[in-house]
């Protein structure tokens, strides 16, 4: 039983991948040899863009981020099934904008004075004194709802981009050793979800052939039991198969290691909570927050490392992290840093005034940073299954 789909690989070593170029038939086109980019690089790129999007309500910048994400996705997505999920995220974003505007119209805070129309007001008991349903709908209110909806849609588009660019199986293959068991569980769940659907179809077909009802409450309740039974059977089989292949074995650990890993992870959690609070609270000096957070990260790394020793496994064909990975991650994290920095400095342009409604600006630094995130569309290697055509 294969847990992960084997993917074709053309590249042997990262050094070959970065240095070898192949000339195209018409003219000399330099491009990196096709190989799978490390999924962590795609996720770093996408999360950086998402962080940048979360810091602004400027529709121009948000639109630029979506366009850049779309360009990179369509230029570098693989032909695998997960590569086609991006447009679904875009559709979801449009729905979210619509919902956000409707909620704003029904429940939102009245902003501005340009009343477009007035909805009937529904009286609520005094307990809900702060809430009002209906009432006047202003243009500023709708604009504010649209901007905030667009921000959420942009964040979703970034997540969608990572989803369609990075192979989920490869991402799971590169989880830290401490999370090995969780990774295996997720792989099994992801692999079995489609099988469950085919099970349901099989049971329903069998019931239909026997002339039993397949629709309605009776049909559903009657087909639940065979499906569950099949799932249980399969999991018992899988457990036996994994046990016979040596899954679940643990390297023995000394007591110190156990204590250190538990203490370090606990400390990382505590410091992480305190540090996050210190960073977010404006009355705490930045130095303290950053120090505590870095202690938390260090403790977490130590804990992960020590805890990872209990799995005595080597990785099978680990994804290399070479120059294209660095480039992609940097191109995504740059906008995040620039947007956060510009927000701290407090120069205008990230937020667009709604009341009074104004034209959005195009601040120079954030715009350049977002355009930098476009580079992976050309500089990242193509996935092998795509360049084969």
């Amino acid at each position: 039983m294969t847990l992960t789909r084997p993917e074709p690989r053309r590249t042997i070593t990262p050094s070959v991948a970065t240095s070898v170029v192949k000339p195209a038939s018409a003219g000399v086109v330099w491009r990196p040899l096709a190989r799978w980019l490390h999924p962590g690089a795609w996720w770093a790129w996408a999360l950086g863009l998402a962080v940048a999007a979360s810091r602004t309500t400027n529709p121009l910048l948000l639109g630029l981020i979506i366009a850049v994400a779309a360009l990179v996705v369509y230029a570098r997505r693989p032909r695998a099934p997960w590569g086609r999920t991006f447009s679904a995220f875009l559709v979801l974003g449009v729905i979210i904008i619509a919902i956000r505007i409707i909620v704003q119209m029904l429940l939102g805070i009245p902003i501005g004075t340009t009343v477009l129309f007035t909805l009937p007001t529904i009286g609520l008991p005094d307990v809900f004194a702060g809430i009002q349903i209906g009432g006047p709908v202003t243009g500023e209110e709708i604009l504010a709802g649209a901007y905030e909806g667009l921000r959420l849609a942009t964040i979703l588009a970034c997540i969608g981009a990572a989803n369609s660019l990075a192979s989920p199986a490869r991402l799971l293959a590169s989880v830290p050793a401490a999370l090995y068991e969780a990774g295996v569980a997720v792989v099994i769940a992801v692999t079995f979800a489609p099988q469950l659907i085919s099970d349901v179809r099989r049971v329903r077909a069998a019931r239909r052939l026997r002339g039993r009802p397949v629709r309605g409450l009776r049909g559903i309740t009657a087909s639940v039991m065979p499906v569950l039974e099949g799932a249980l059977d399969r999991s018992v089989n899988l457990a036996a198969a994994m046990d016979s292949r040596g899954y679940g074995r643990r390297a023995s650990r000394t007591r110190v290691e156990r204590w250190v890993s538990a203490g370090a992870l606990l400390g990382a959690l505590t410091f992480g909570v305190i540090g996050t609070y210190a960073v977010l609270d404006a009355s705490v000096p930045t130095v303290v927050g950053v120090t505590v957070l870095s202690i938390a990260i260090a403790a977490g790394l130590i804990g992960m490392r020590v805890a990872g020793r209990r799995t005595a496994r080597t990785r099978y064909r680990p994804d290399p992290w070479a120059f294209p990975e660095w480039l992609t991650a940097t191109c995504g994290l740059l906008p995040a840093l620039v947007f956060i920095g510009v927000g701290i400095v407090g120069s205008t342009g990230l937020a667009t005034s709604v009341d009074p409604a104004e034209w959005p600006e195009l601040p120079l630094l954030p715009t350049i940073a977002v355009l930098c995130a476009m580079f992976p569309a050309w500089l990242a290697p193509e996935p092998p299954d795509r360049s084969a055509s």
């Binding site: 121009l60 639109g63 630029l64 366009a67 850049v68 779309a70 360009l71 996705v73 369509y74 230029a75 032909r79 805070i109 009245p110 902003i111 004075t113 007001t121 005094d126 004194a129 702060g130 809430i131 009002q132 009432g135 006047p136 023995s252 000394t254 007591r255 110190v256 204590w259 250190v260 203490g263 606990l266 400390g267 505590t270 410091f271 305190i274 609070y277 210190a278 404006a282 009355s283 705490v284 000096p285 930045t286 303290v288 505590v292 407090g346 205008t348 937020a351 005034s353 709604v354 009341d355 009074p356 104004e358 034209w359 959005p360 600006e361 195009l362 715009t367 569309a377 795509r386 055509s389």
Partner: protein, 332 residues
Amino acid sequence: MPSPRPENLVCPRAARAVLAVLLVVVGAFAALIATPQNASAMSYRYWSYWIGNGSGWTYSPWGPASLRPADGSVEGWRFGVSSGTSGAGLQPRATADFDRICADTSAEEGIKRVAVIIDPGLADDAPDGESPGGLWAMCVSAPPSATGADILRSAASVRTQAGMVCGLAGYPARECAVVLRDEPENSAEQESPSPSATDAPAPQPTSRPSTVAGDADPTTSSPLPTPTRSSATSPSPRATPSADQPLDTAATEQSTPPPDGASPTGGVPQATSKPAPSQAPAETEPRPEVSIVAAAVTGPGSGPGPLMAIIGGAAIAVIALLAILQRRRVPR
């Protein structure tokens, strides 16, 4: 499988020591963080909202949209830098004197009169490249259901962002409740104790009215409050106002509202009553002059033009076109 080693017998104690050290460090950091107000504490620059309480000002713990000021109350707005979130030392530099501001506005049945004093603050606190105008006050006649936000909108043009009042009458032009890292230079005024030490959010959110008295939203049930005062007065040219004289409202023909763009309607100039002795605490700083205006003071419209939006839209269109071309490149 390694056999249990003799070190294992000793190690729990060492591990416990490690854990204890960790806990101590965590506790020390927690104590450090819990200590309020470090040397590099941040300060905020924003419009703070005050409620006159006869003799002085009270920092409002509520947003202006949540309050329905009663007839005869005084509302104050002050722009400045505050190191805390309670508006310490930021109260408007004028006495909350309803009788003076509303002396010429007659009371009517079904209409409440609310005095608004707007204080753009000190020049030291102004954002770079901007300078605050003078104080102005207005007697707003409004329906009883009008909230503090409605009252404010009839006294000045309001710029809001994310539920916060960012600018009044175009000041400050762009920023909104910014966080300053540097401690502001303490003026004599900023050292004065806070009138209300209650913890309150720094910027005033214009949230839904929380005290709905059985009627609908003010904007549905009633139009925006309109100023009824037809005469305008200007500050007297006195150079050194005494500390006990909070409102200098000598009557003159010409009205000079503080920020540009104000358009007080002309009318019959009326002499206001003589300044009454106030019970304000003595302050070292002289009281600034207050001009009473009759119409809302509006700032200059300084928003960016549509040029940037057109450029940005074109850029988005070009990148989207590239994306569509890339999508078609690989046949599925």
